[in-house]
Structure formats: C-alpha cells, structure tokens
C-alpha cells in the first residue's frame, strides 16, 4: 500500500478529534506508558534534567541579579558617588620603605563647593569621611568603619533608620558626640540590651547611640571591597561630619606592621544627587570634567549607580540568552532521546498496530495514539522537571543562603516547551507507525 501525503493524515486527525476521543486516547497512552514504567521514566530523564536545570539556574540567576540591582538601587539611581582612591604611584612609594610622610589625595571640600556652584541639576550633595576604628562597649570590641556624614544620609542612600533617629543638623552644628549604629554592629556590641541611649567608646571619645539603621543584608558585603577587609564587613557607625572633623582633623595616622603612614584625605566619599534621571549621565560627565581640571592625579573614582544598573540588566540579558541556548540544547537532546525510544516502541508494537488497523483503526488513529504517548511522556518529564526545578532553588537558599527567585513564567514556559518537544519529536515515530502495512504488521512476530 503506497504511502500518500502525511499532511492528509493530520487533516483527518484534526477533523476527527473530539474531547471524548482525546480523553480516551490519553487514558490509553497512560496505560501503555505505565506498562513500561521504568523505561518511560528513563526516557524522560533528559527532559527532566533539561527543564529542571533551566528553572533552577534561572532562579539562581534571577536571585543574583535581583541582589545586584537592589545593591545598586540602594546607592540610589539618582546618585553619583565620588570616592577617594589612593593613586597607584603613591601606593608604590609608600610600600617601598618605612619612611613616613603624609600622603595627600582624594576628593576635597573645594571639589564639593565647585560642583555645587557650577553644575546645574544637582540638588543635594552628601560628603562623607570614612575612618577605620575600634568601637568599644566596656570590654566588647568591634572593628568598624566610622562614617562621618550629614543628616540627609538616610534619604540619599535609601537606607532607613530602624530604631531611634538619625542625627539632625543641630547635632552637626553642635558637633555632638552622637552616633547611629549599622544593624550589623548591634549584636557584637550590645548582644543583650537595646543600644539606644548607651555610650560607646572610639579612641578616647565617647559617643551616645541615638539610633540603629535597618540591616542592608548581604548586599553590603560586596560594596567597597577596596577599603574594608572582612573584619569590618557591613559594620558601620554614622557620626556627624563636623564631629569627625573636630576629633580627627584631616590627617589620618595608621600604624601597620613596621611602618607608619599618614594620609591627608578631606573626604572619602561624596554623593551627588541629581534632579532628574535623564540628567544623571550629563551631570556625571560634568563632574568628571570639573574633577579632572582640579586633580593632577587620578585620586578619585566616579560611580554612577544608574549605569551599573543598566550594566547589570545587560549582564542578566546575556545570562538569559546563554541559559536559553543551554536549555534549547538539553531539550533537543531530551527530545531525540524520546524519539529514539518511541521508534523502538513502534517497532516493538508492530503487531499491536496491525491488530488495531485490522479492527478499523485508520492511519490517523494510529498517529494520534503514538503522538499522544510521546506528548504525555514529554509532558510528564516537563512536570517532574518543573517540580525539581522549583525545589532546587529552595534547597539552595536554605543550605547556601543564596537568594533565589522562581519567576512564574519560567516553569510555565519550560513545561510548554517540553510538551512541544513531545509533539515535534513524536511526529516521526507516529508517522512510521501509521505507514505500516496492516498485512505486514499482523505477520510480525
């Protein structure tokens, strides 16, 4: 019997397809697959792992990028941050010997004045000094970073006060000895009591704790790698800028093993808030020019969170493309695996096909039967994969503490694609089954 056009089978298939028929075919398919449970399971493993790894990787990637974006957002998308950086050639000199001299570098008060005076679109400027010190509560000691800053710090950095209050302009003007602790400081210094109203000692001076900031989570870890080693990670105490100026002056002394160095840094960090998002770029350029004009050496660094945000989004896009191709390959491999087994199954069930044809099954009935089986296999693989893929991120979060986000669309998409894989890779075996000659098929042993 000649094999005519396959498209004709599908037309007939479509015409004959009713809900009841489909339901019965699905039930029949389940029976056939259940008869070879182990083989069915092994067949779909490719799809299972493909779907599962895609969902899990997407969730982990999504979590990582969410963290990165949160961190950048916490710097403020309207902000431009200037940081003082020790110029590289100076570093070399100071490493060479133990001779002591005062290094002068970084962003200055003059820079701040210039920026405010000459660049339009700048609304607020927040200067900050950073000093590494030990903070004491009687006998408890914490290595921390003292941040000398201004009263509008919380709004600028989207960082809220959890308890108490932040210091005010009055505190600044009065050079008050008050401080606000970063959340990470509290357990180390005040494990048992509320820190509010207590005093902590830094160097020879006492500061009254007036507030505690909200925790920033893990994101602070990655910030400022350059000027904080593991001991001070996330441990900040905020003190009025004027107070710091009064206590420490502008020359910082540091004793290190065998050497002694001093630095003159006026401001470690300046945050510039720009009026509107559109202006961020141009203001950043303007600031760059202003600083280039006044600084002979590159002893500053300009961080534009908005640009970083864009970069993070771009990175995520690339990550998704890479992941998409991996997913495509693994689903292709899984699909070929299914097709392989279905072809074997068709050969093995030649006699069944012959019987069905003799009893009145048309070619498209056979197509439907095998196609449904393949789709069921792939779909079941997809479901198992989705379940595993959703479970893995939870396990990762639970064991490794990594942030993961399972987006709704990723399981839906993964499942749909795996079912589609079933259709695509099921067509060929189904056609092979349907094109068998009933006489030959019945004779098959």
């Amino acid at each position: 019997m000649s094999v005519n056009n396959p498209s004709g089978f599908f037309e007939n298939l479509w015409r004959d397809l009713t809900a009841a028929r489909l339901r019965r075919t699905v039930r029949l398919g389940f029976k056939s697959l259940w008869l070879h449970r182990l083989r069915s399971l092994l067949t779909v493993l490719g799809i299972v792992f493909g779907v599962c790894s895609v969902i899990a990787m997407l969730a982990i990637g999504e979590g990582a990028s969410w963290e990165a974006q949160e961190r950048i957002k916490s710097l403020g998308s309207h902000n431009i941050i200037l940081k003082s950086v020790k110029p590289p050639e100076e570093q070399k000199v100071s490493d060479k010997g133990s001779q002591s001299y005062v290094m002068q570098y970084g962003v200055t008060y003059t820079d701040v004045k210039n920026i405010r005076a000459t660049i339009p679109g700048v609304t607020v400027v927040m200067p900050a000094r950073l000093i590494r010190e030990y903070a004491w509560n009687i006998s408890r000691r914490v290595d921390c970073e003292m941040v000398g800053t201004v009263s509008w710090y919380p709004e600028m950095r989207n960082h809220r006060v959890a308890q108490g209050r932040f210091f005010t302009e009055t505190d600044m003007d009065g050079k008050a000895s008050v401080c606000v602790l970063g959340a990470e400081m509290v357990p180390a210094l005040f494990p048992l009591e509320s820190p509010l109203g207590k005093h902590i000692r830094v160097g020879a001076n006492y500061y009254q704790v007036i507030g505690v900031m909200e925790p920033r989570g893990t994101d602070v870890k990655n910030e400022d790698k350059s000027d904080a080693d593991s001991k001070t990670v996330g441990k900040y105490m905020y003190v009025p800028l004027e107070t710091i100026k009064l206590r420490y002056g502008e020359v910082l002394m540091r004793r290190r093993t065998g050497s002694f160095e001093a630095e003159r840094v006026q401001l470690h960090e300046v945050t510039v808030k720009v009026h509107s998002l559109e202006e961020v770029r141009s203001v950043a350029d303007a600031i760059k020019q202003t600083l280039e004009h006044n600084h002979k050496k590159k002893d500053y660094d300009i961080v534009v969170p908005l640009e970083q945000l864009k970069q993070a989004e771009e990175t995520k896009r690339i990550f998704n493309i890479v992941l998409g191709s991996i997913a495509a390959i693994s689903l292709l491999v899984g699909g070929i695996g299914i097709m392989n087994i279905m072809l074997a199954s068709v050969t093995e069930r030649t006699r069944e096909i012959g019987i069905r044809r003799a009893l009145g099954a048309r070619r498209h009935d056979i197509i439907l039967q095998f196609l449904v089986e393949t789709v069921l296999l792939a779909g079941a693989g997809g479901i198992i994969g989705v379940l595993l893929g959703v479970a893995i991120p939870f396990i990762v979060t639970w064991t490794a503490g990594m942030k993961t986000i399972v987006t709704l669309w990723s399981p839906v998409l993964a499942f749909t694609i795996s079912a589609l894989v079933g259709v695509v890779f099921g067509i060929y075996p189904a056609l092979r089954a349907a094109q068998m000659d009933p006489v030959e098929a019945l004779r098959h042993e």
Binding site: I355, L359, A361, R362, L442
Partner: protein, 228 residues
C-alpha cells in the same frame, strides 16, 4: 436465493518480490450468501492467506472486483477500507491477537472505539458479548491471565461486537489443544446457527467437514467448491 454479501469477480493478486513477479491469485470468482459457513482449504503457498487478506480488506486486489455487501471495495482508499473493516468485518486469528495492555472488555470494544461509538454504549455491548462467550467473570483480566481457549473466546467476542457481515477466522484452533479447540468450533457452529456468516481458513479436513461449504485452492485458483 439469498442475496450475495461477498462477491469475488475474477480477482487477481500479484506481488513483486525483487525481480520476480509472484501470482498469488490467478482469477478467483465466487459468491457468498448470508448465513453460509465456509471453509477455505489448500496446501501452503496456494494463496489462502492472500485470499483472506483480500476478503478482510487488509489488501487490495491487483485486478478484478470485490463486492462486500453492495459496495465495491476493491479499489477503496485506505481510510475507507479501515472503516469497512471496523464496521462490516470480524477477525479471529490463529494467535488470538489481543492487545496485552488492555483488559478483556477493553479488547472486545476496540472495533467500536474506532467507529467513535460512545463509551458507555460500547462498554455495555462488550460486556454483553463477553457473557455470550462465557467470560462474564473475567472482564477485568488481562490476556496473559487467560488460557488459550479463553483468549480465543475474547477474540471471537471482539469479532462479534460490531455485528459484522462476515466473520473471518484464520485457523482459529491452530494454537489450541483439542479440547478447547472443539469448544471454539462448537461456538462457531452455534454462531452460524444463529445466522452469522463465517469464513474459516483451515488445513484440517475434520474441521472443514463441519462446515457446509468447502472451497479448495491450488496454485492461486479454485480447485473445488463443494457444498455438503
């Protein structure tokens, strides 16, 4: 004279086997009327299987006409032939040919399934026929849980379920011991007495003696056509 339900008119079938053309049937003509009980006999290679495949609409003749009922089915397209098989023919094979993953009652209702009959109705009819062949207690058993004789009974019930014009049996007792074989033959006798038309291929003369007409084939042609 009752109306002919099967009419073969000079039917020929040739196969191309590599370079050799094999003439399996060389002009076969006969008619079968309702209620007949016919055995087809002959040595192997005489064209019995080919004739049965043509009678069963599993294959198309190279030349000649085959009228089943009032319709010429000799050159029908594949899908229509499937429908003809499902609606007008019943098959009983030597090796039972039941589908292993299905239960007794599900096997019986297969022809109705492909006719698109509603599920409840098919189930009812299949159950009825299972009872007719004495398997009402085995409805939910799988074929491998049954003896050969029981499996052949399921096959007979399946061949009856669509109320066919003709039942085609291909050596139905070939795989059975003599006791269950004669049980099956008794069942065929009963069915014929109830008016079913049965065509049975066999090479056992004792079986052909039970039938009322015996067609003997040799070298693709009818050697004798005897009514007893």
């Amino acid at each position: 004279m009752a109306a002919s339900i099967v009419q073969f008119e000079d039917v020929r079938k040739t196969y191309q086997m590599g370079p050799v053309t094999v003439e399996a049937l060389r002009g076969v003509s006969f008619g079968i009327e309702t209620g007949e009980y016919i055995s087809i006999m002959g040595p192997s290679g005489c064209g019995k299987s080919t004739l049965l495949n043509l009678l069963g609409c599993l294959d198309r003749p190279t030349a000649g006409r085959y009228l089943l009922g009032v319709q010429d089915v000799s050159q029908m397209p594949d899908d229509e032939l499937s429908a003809v098989r499902g609606e007008r023919l019943g098959f009983v094979f030597q090796s039972y040919n039941l589908i292993q993953q299905l239960t007794v009652v599900e096997n019986i209702e297969i022809p109705l399934y492909y006719q698109g009959r509603p599920e409840g109705e098919s189930r009812e009819r299949a159950t009825e026929l299972a009872a007719r062949v004495g398997l009402e207690a085995r409805l939910e058993h799988k074929p491998f849980e049954l003896s050969g004789g029981q499996q052949q009974r399921v096959a007979i019930a399946r061949a009856l379920v669509n109320d066919p014009l003709v039942i085609l049996a291909d050596e139905p007792t070939g795989n059975l011991d003599s006791t269950s074989g004669s049980d099956i033959l008794r069942l065929f006798d009963e069915l014929n007495q109830q008016g079913k038309t049965i065509i049975m291929v066999t090479h056992d003369t004792s079986i052909s003696k039970r039938t009322r007409r015996s067609i003997r084939l040799r070298d693709g042609q009818i050697e004798s056509d005897v009514r007893q």
